[in-house]
């Protein structure tokens, strides 16, 4: 895979945020899972969200994507305040996400999993179904063409007519990512895309994420594999105990004693594969 630095021009270095989280808090039964997390995600970049277990990374992603309501704080996508919006509204605004354990629409075929993804379609309306069949046919044809192209890119084309529940773990991971790509999101949240994946597939998924950036998408990914973070991420946000500890390039963060103490130290000590 191409690395992040080969893709960034000097002009790209400063960028407006597509996502702005301010003072987000969330507690469960009195325990603070997120405790004032504040960070920006720059547009058109790949940003990693890292931190020790229990730092509140997934909770933050759940709050951003509308899967969970925060107790206080704000989430802005561009200039729109999306704090505690319903998740389908956030998705329609251009935010897609994946999950730590990949989820699929098991009773639908691989192709159909992609066809439900595009944000707004004429085929959603009963009126159009009965009175504008040509429009629907054209839309369906265009969606199938695009979905087929994506499935070819992600190596799932041969499985297009299989039920999603019949796929292997790695294939489900790819399906989840390709479903997100089908929606052409402006911001794609990936929750540990490399978790439980073999090294060859890690390389491939890394390549796909860089492709997303080339296509103009912004990616925010929770990731523990620092080799991957080093290779593909432009920016890193470190969370610890529900707070933003630091942001910057991973190389800069390695020199930050707070970050090393809270997170990187244990990762470095854990061995070379991290």
């Amino acid at each position: 895979m191409t690395t992040r630095d080969e893709m960034n021009s000097p002009v790209d270095q400063v960028n407006e945020p597509i996502l702005r989280c301010q003072d987000i808090t969330k507690s469960f039964l009195g325990v603070n899972a997120v405790n004032g997390a504040t960070f920006d995600v720059p547009k058109g970049k790949i940003t990693a969200l890292i931190g020790p277990n229990g730092a509140g990374k997934t909770t933050v992603v759940n709050i951003i994507s509308g899967a969970m309501k925060c107790d206080s704080g704000t989430v802005h996508m561009g200039s729109t305040d999306v704090t505690n919006w319903e998740r389908y509204k956030i998705a329609r605004l251009g935010l897609m996400r994946t999950f730590q354990l990949s989820r699929e629409l098991g009773g639908l075929t691989v192709l159909e999993n992609l066809l439900v993804a595009p944000k707004v379609q004429a085929g959603e309306s009963l009126f159009n179904i009965f009175f504008r069949p040509r429009l629907l046919k054209r839309e369906e044809r265009q969606n199938i063409e695009r979905a087929t192209e994506i499935l070819r890119t992600y190596g799932l084309y041969e499985l297009r007519d299989s039920l999603a529940r019949e796929l292997s773990g790695g294939q489900k991971k790819l399906l989840e990512i390709s479903r997100g790509v089908m929606a052409s999101p402006s911001l794609f949240l990936l929750d540990e895309p490399m978790a439980g994946v073999n090294p060859a597939l890690i390389e491939r998924i890394g390549g796909y994420i860089l492709d997303m950036k080339r296509q103009g998408m912004t990616v925010l990914m929770i990731e523990h594999n620092l080799n991957v973070v080093e290779k593909i991420c432009d920016n890193v946000i470190v969370l610890a105990e529900g707070r933003t500890l630091a942001t910057g390039r991973l190389s800069e963060l390695r020199a930050n004693p707070e970050v090393v103490q809270a997170y990187l130290g244990e990762i470095i000590n854990a061995g070379p594969h991290n």
């Binding site: 998740r87 389908y88 629409l105 009773g107 439900v116 929606a183």
Partner: protein, 292 residues
């Protein structure tokens, strides 16, 4: 043998009515994940709406009145969901509470029908049909039209589910509501549309039942509902295609059994099939893991 084929013909008519009803119930169950015990009363109310348009107010042809009656039932189903069932379903996680509400709704509808139309049997204003000999079958033109309506409805439902975004969204919701929402599917809107379709199909099933039986009564709410449940469960709960297949199986089995045993055991035959299915294939004869 002639008796068998006659019964087979009647079985196809019953299966046609049952298929429309079972698909409507299954669509709604797949999306909301609770059983609507008022569904039989939706059928009865739809039949009475058709009766009102056919014999009381506009004096429309029965086939046109049937369209109006079914659509009225569809709209009413949306209102029932919006103001009654939906709020309960959102408020309580346990589907048991919503089941009790659907029981209550069933009683309300039944008593509304009695108070508006009375307990007397009503009949649509339509010509008395001559019986036609078609191969080994003896069927009326109306019964043939009912079978054609059923086939067309099944094809439309199939096309909607397979080829439109709406259908795929319904199947996605039936599969995993959370993931469907995360993918940008407006689940409330899909739920509303599903209630409309389910109510319309219930109204249609009640109306064509009235046409094939030659009379309209509030009975579907009490009797036919359990045959529909049998068809849906035998086919595989929540599976639309299972509901279609279950309807054909139950429809044929009940009518053919009536030709050889006492006709009053028809319901019992449906329940024997239901019990055997639950014993040997608890997920239904045509169910795969997951739904619809």
């Amino acid at each position: 043998m002639a008796q068998f084929w006659l019964a087979f013909g009647f079985g196809l008519v019953t299966a046609s009515v049952l298929a429309i009803a079972a698909v409507g119930l299954s669509l709604q169950f797949g999306i909301t994940n609770y059983i609507n015990f008022a569904y039989g009363d939706f059928m009865a109310l739809g039949a009475y709406f058709t009766y009102a348009l056919n014999s009381e107010f506009l004096h429309l042809n029965v086939w046109i009145a049937l369209v109006g009656g079914s659509l009225c039932m569809g709209l009413l189903a949306v209102l029932f969901n919006h103001f009654l069932l939906g709020p309960f379903a959102r408020r309580f996680n346990k589907t048991f509470y919503v089941l009790i509400v659907t029981f209550g709704l069933s009683l309300i509808i039944l008593n509304a029908i009695y108070s508006i139309w009375g307990a007397n049997v009503r009949a649509y204003n339509m010509k008395i049909e001559q019986v036609l000999h078609i191969g080994p079958f003896l069927l009326t033109r109306n019964q043939l039209i009912v079978m054609a309506i059923s086939v067309v409805m099944m094809l439309l439902v199939h096309l909607m589910l397979k080829t439109t975004r709406l259908g795929k969204s319904m199947r996605a919701m039936s599969d995993n509501t959370t993931l469907a929402m995360t993918s940008g599917i407006d689940t409330r809107r899909i739920t509303t549309i599903t209630w409309f379709l389910s109510g319309t199909l219930a109204g249609l099933a009640g109306s064509v039942l009235g046409i094939t039986e030659g009379n309209v009564t509030p009975a579907p709410g009490e009797l036919f509902l359990f045959v529909i449940f049998a068809a849906v469960i035998v086919g595989g709960v929540g599976s639309i295609y299972g509901a279609m297949a279950g309807a054909v199986l139950i429809g044929l089995a009940t009518e053919i059994s009536a030709a050889f045993f006492n006709a009053s055991y028809k319901l019992d035959v449906a329940f024997v099939i239901l019990i055997l299915t639950l014993l040997f294939r608890p997920n239904g004869l045509f169910a795969r893991p997951g739904r619809a």
